[in-house]
């Protein structure tokens, strides 16, 4: 389990990191917490000539809870999301989901930026970010742009991020007061990726629903949200279950995954409704 050789870089700021990406093109990759990338490198499923460690870039860290939005630096760890003071009140679903990711050791180092940039359909944050209608701040040689989480995922491991861009921050609108939310995940054991997971927000005449690991991208269904907003739970479930496209793998056959998806979705809807005020 020894990865192929590479050169290690630890730039002090974003401009230098982008400079190194530009210099080495697709030979170079950034590393955040490394807990998706390093296992892939050990399996030799990822090989690269230059590894750019983002840990010293302080501008990419931290959580700012504003009036309408929460801005989270890409290098913020899952652990920091869980223990942060104001975040639990503004976005309780984020803490609820982060606690269901991996195990304590992984949460100490795994970052929200790595989780959303990775593009693995098994990652929990991308579906949640689509449910919350988050935007991703990307900075490259030509400056910065924002991409909606709902437009970011193209296929497994393919996203709208260009090779020379770095995801610097995630901007999440704070749901209206009284909105109920829930993140429910079914997994084979603690520390496992989801067999199926559902993120649900439901407020006064509004709703948003997304699911994880049931297609090669996260699935946010506008129709499912609209049905739930109108109080039509069966319609919401039908729209969502029509939108997913699970594949058979070691987590089970397609029929089983559809069954689990239906169960976690119902549970998430019930829980979100019970938390609405």
């Amino acid at each position: 389990m020894i990865p192929a050789g590479f050169e290690y870089h630890r730039p002090a700021d974003l401009t230098s990191a982008i400079g190194i990406l530009q210099e080495h093109g697709d030979e170079a990759r950034v590393v955040a917490g490394g807990h998706s990338l390093i296992p892939m490198m050990k399996l030799r499923m990822a090989e690269l000539g230059h590894l750019i460690d983002l840990q010293d870039i302080d501008a990419m860290k931290g959580i700012a809870v504003g009036g309408d939005t929460v801005t989270i630096g890409a290098m913020t760890t899952q652990h920091e999301l869980i223990v942060h003071d104001g975040l639990g009140a503004a976005l309780p679903i984020l803490r609820e989901a982060a606690l269901q990711i991996a195990d304590p050791q992984v949460r100490y180092v795994g970052t929200i930026g790595g989780n959303v940039a990775n593009g693995d359909p098994g990652n929990d944050m991308p579906g949640l970010m689509q449910c919350l209608n988050a935007r991703f701040d990307l900075t490259g040689p030509d400056g910065s742009r924002q991409v909606a989480a709902r437009d970011f995922y193209e296929a497994a491991y393919f996203t709208a991020r260009e090779d020379e861009e770095i995801l610097t921050a995630i901007i999440i609108p704070i749901p209206a007061p009284g909105t109920g939310s829930a993140y429910i995940k079914q997994k084979r054991k603690i520390g496992d990726y989801a067999t199926a997971a559902a993120a649900v927000l439901v407020g006064d005449g509004t709703a948003s629903v997304a699911m994880t690991n049931l297609a090669d991208t996260p699935i946010w269904s506008e129709a499912a949200g609209a049905a739930l907003a109108a109080g039509d739970i069966d319609g919401c479930a039908a729209a969502m279950l029509g939108a997913i496209d699970p594949q058979e793998d070691m987590r089970g056959p397609v029929a089983f995954k559809k069954h689990v998806a239906a169960v976690v979705l119902r549970r998430a809807i019930d829980s979100a409704l019970s938390r609405r005020s």
Binding site: M1, E7, R10, G34, P39, K42, D53, Q105, V109
Partner: protein, 164 residues
């Protein structure tokens, strides 16, 4: 691939050495520094036998490159003994409560328990179980590990009170 110079604090002492950038921290600890407390159980980021404390966080040292550890403060199970070399409280409680059988998972368990009790000095049984979810044990069935950690909490708190 040329080697890089790595320097960090290990159990309170400055250490340094040369390593290829692809070297994992666990291999650097065990093979270059001869610190063999942290074990290699799975090498795939799942078992927690390689857990060390890095800047106040429990991390799986099989999933950290040496360069990432440069400049950090690292503690292994060797660093959790008393100053005179006798067993520290958590180590002693694992012994007393049979928190180990083969002992393979133990260095990772104890290092993780250390951080857990730093963050939460009065954990419930459920919090202990959730807190050690990243450490697998194939022998004990966990019951005595949980007992040992709860007993450590009690003893550490009693010592703290006595000191105040």
């Amino acid at each position: 691939m040329s080697k890089m110079h790595v320097k960090f604090t290990l159990n309170g002492q400055d250490v340094e050495g040369l390593a290829e950038p692809r070297t994992l921290l666990i291999h650097f600890l065990r093979e270059t520094l001869n610190v063999t407390g942290p074990h290699i159980g799975c090498e795939t980021s799942h078992c927690g036998a390689c857990t060390v404390d890095m800047d106040g966080k429990s991390v799986k040292s099989c999933t950290v490159f040496v360069g990432q550890a440069d400049g950090r403060q690292i503690t292994t199970v060797e660093g959790l003994t008393n100053a005179d070399g006798s067993l520290g409280v958590i180590q002693e409680m694992f012994r007393e409560h049979h928190g180990l059988q083969c002992g393979f998972c133990t260095p990772g368990m104890i290092t993780r328990a250390h951080r857990l009790l730093q963050e939460n000095p009065n954990p419930t049984e459920e919090e202990v179980r959730f807190g050690i979810a990243g450490n697998l044990c194939r022998c004990t069935g966990y019951q005595n590990i949980v007992k040992a950690i709860l007993a450590s909490a009690e003893q550490l708190n009693a010592m703290k009170e006595a000191a105040e």
